[in-house]
């Protein structure tokens, strides 16, 4: 009877399934993907023919990328405790909004630029 069952004693200091860490890594992967797409968007913006379209697309891209970085950073910090709270609606909507912003910049450049 010396074995330690799942319900015994105080809560362990970390999640045995590393769920928070996996979630943080998922945010990191998503940030990397967002960075790649933002770089592609920036490349397209530099080559856009009417410079105004390129400028607008570059501004949207930069704002969106910074916004995504901020959202991901905040969420990665908030998953630090062993039993983190669920993702907030605000963060989910902001991350989705960033993807939509990149898509908007892409439509602008594809059609006009």
């Amino acid at each position: 009877m010396s074995g330690r069952g799942p319900g015994d004693g105080p809560a362990p200091a970390r999640d045995p399934g590393l769920q928070p860490e996996r979630t943080r890594l998922a945010w990191r992967r998503t940030t990397l993907t967002c960075t790649v797409v933002a770089v592609l968007a920036g490349r397209g913006a530099l080559r856009s023919d009417p410079a105004a379209v390129g400028g607008a697309a570059a501004a949207v891209t930069a704002a969106v990328w910074l916004c995504f970085l901020a959202v991901a950073h905040r969420r990665m910090r908030s998953t630090a405790p062993p039993r983190p709270a669920a993702l907030s609606h605000r963060a989910a909507l902001a991350a989705t909004g960033c993807v939509l912003g990149l898509a908007l910049a892409g439509c602008l450049m594809a059609v006009i630029g």
Partner: protein
């Protein structure tokens, strides 16, 4: 579609969701979050594909190039919107202890990606030969 509209209302009413049912095990919420992020990456990949078509296939005719780019970016937009919608609905189902929502979306997306890929292959072969 009514499911979608219902979900849409929930996006902006987090308090109404958190009043329902019980807070699920944090591990389920985190798994739901990772699924949401995986769909978001899919959306980003589709948008990135649209950028790639627009930038790296300059020899295509304007209409074909822009059409393909917009189709890919549009699929990315759909995917992102659906990601957040599905996340909200799963969160609510877990709070209420219901079954998780089922969805036709993955099949539709797979078919759309297949059609775009075939179109792409045909277009590249056609323009390369011509």
């Amino acid at each position: 579609m009514s499911d979608f509209l219902q979900g849409l209302r929930l996006w902006f009413a987090p308090r109404r969701i958190s009043e329902e049912g019980d807070t699920p095990d944090y591990r389920f919420s985190l798994a739901n979050e990772r699924t949401f992020l995986a769909w978001l990456r899919t959306a980003l990949a589709l948008v990135g594909g649209g950028f790639a078509v627009d930038q790296f296939l300059p020899d295509l005719r304007w209409g074909v190039r822009v059409g393909l780019a917009l189709a890919l970016i549009g699929a990315g937009v759909l995917c992102a919107v659906r990601a957040v919608n599905h996340w909200v609905r799963c969160e609510r189902a877990m709070r209420r202890g219901e079954d998780l929502p089922v969805s036709r979306f993955p099949v539709l997306l797979a078919l759309a990606v297949g059609v775009v890929s075939l179109t792409m292959a045909a277009v590249v072969a056609w323009e390369g030969a011509g």
